[in-house]
Amino acid sequence: MKKITLSTLFFFSLITLVIAQGYQVGDQAMDFKLKNVDDNFVSMSDYPDAKGFIVIFTCNHCPFSVAYEDRIIEIDLKYKELGYPVIAINPNDPAVSAGDGFDDMKKRAAEKEFTFPYLFDDGQKVFPVYGATRTPHVYLLNKKGEALKVAYIGAIDNNHQDAASVSEKYLEKAVNALLKGEKPAVEFTKAIGCTIKVASK
């Protein structure tokens, strides 16, 4: 009996550990069903023809996210044709993150004419599973049969301040590798960003 309790405990602590850490490259990513700024719900299963997805946790208020808006539009336009559309997700709790409410998202998406879905992680159920910690935070997913495998995690490129000074386009290089059927040479990068805002318990 004791043994069972202990192993059950161990099992559950293992699960919490996995959830707390989020995805690593190579892990299978879960699909989601989240509300888009056009009020329709979006899942990755809605895109049977996609080869994968560029999932970007981003938001309205964060200056790093704002600095990347135009680049995210460009990346979406370039890669959705090739089978890798962008899906943006706002992971913040608007109660503790001014400017990140669903109506604010609608407004920003209209102003910037986002070409990609901009979804609201209502209840903050998705970002912890992925393990996102900041905005923007990219998860590049690659379809293998029915499964979505994480192929790259990290930054969009190596200069948030100035698109013209970028010397490494990490995300684009990773997608280009997938398009050639190769593994991205750089699978994981870090970047400074805004913390994802969660109401303190």
Binding site: S165, K190, A191, I192
Partner: protein, 161 residues
């Protein structure tokens, strides 16, 4: 008359020094790195923040408080701003003046963050705020928001008198 002039002069100088409360050095990571590698009797409390980062601004007063309350101890608070370099005059300096921040503030201007985040700490995902507390015997990294009590607790455990 003479006395009055001197007094006036003193007042004016005092005001000027208040206005120019603090010069902010702009450093790339190479130039910043030595702040993470001091090897002496001082305990260093290094907070990474930005004026636009709400949780950072909330905890900044606690770092000021640590700075004030440990002024007679071997402790140094350093506030490392990650504001965009073109916002230094528009945002960073006014913020420092408004909040009368007295710990040293530097601006870490090195956009290729992937090249240096791990050197601050491999545990750091890159989210702000983040804090390093270290001395020659101890190094702690915290990707979280602090309360004053939490800061005090860590410092009291680690500081050498």
């Amino acid at each position: 008359m003479m006395k009055k002039t001197i007094l006036l002069l003193l007042l004016v100088t005092a005001q000027i020094s208040l206005l120019h409360s603090q010069e902010v050095s702009v450093l790339d990571f190479q130039k910043f790195r030595p702040y993470l590698e001091k090897n002496n009797d001082t305990t260093y409390v290094i907070n990474f923040w930005a004026t636009w980062c709400l949780p950072c601004i909330k905890e900044i007063p606690y770092f000021q408080q640590v700075n004030d309350n440990y002024s007679d101890k071997k402790l140094k608070v350093l506030l490392v701003s990650l504001d965009f370099a073109n916002q230094i005059d528009k945002r960073l300096k006014p913020f420092i003046e408004k909040h009368k921040l007295t710990p040293q503030v530097v601006l870490l201007n090195d956009p290729d963050a992937n090249s240096w985040i791990n050197e601050v700490s491999p545990e750091w995902s890159g989210a702000l705020p983040a804090t390093v507390i270290y001395n020659k015997n101890f190094r702690g990294f915290y990707e979280k928001s602090f309360t004053y009590n939490e800061l005090e607790q860590i410092i009291n455990q680690r500081i050498s008198n």
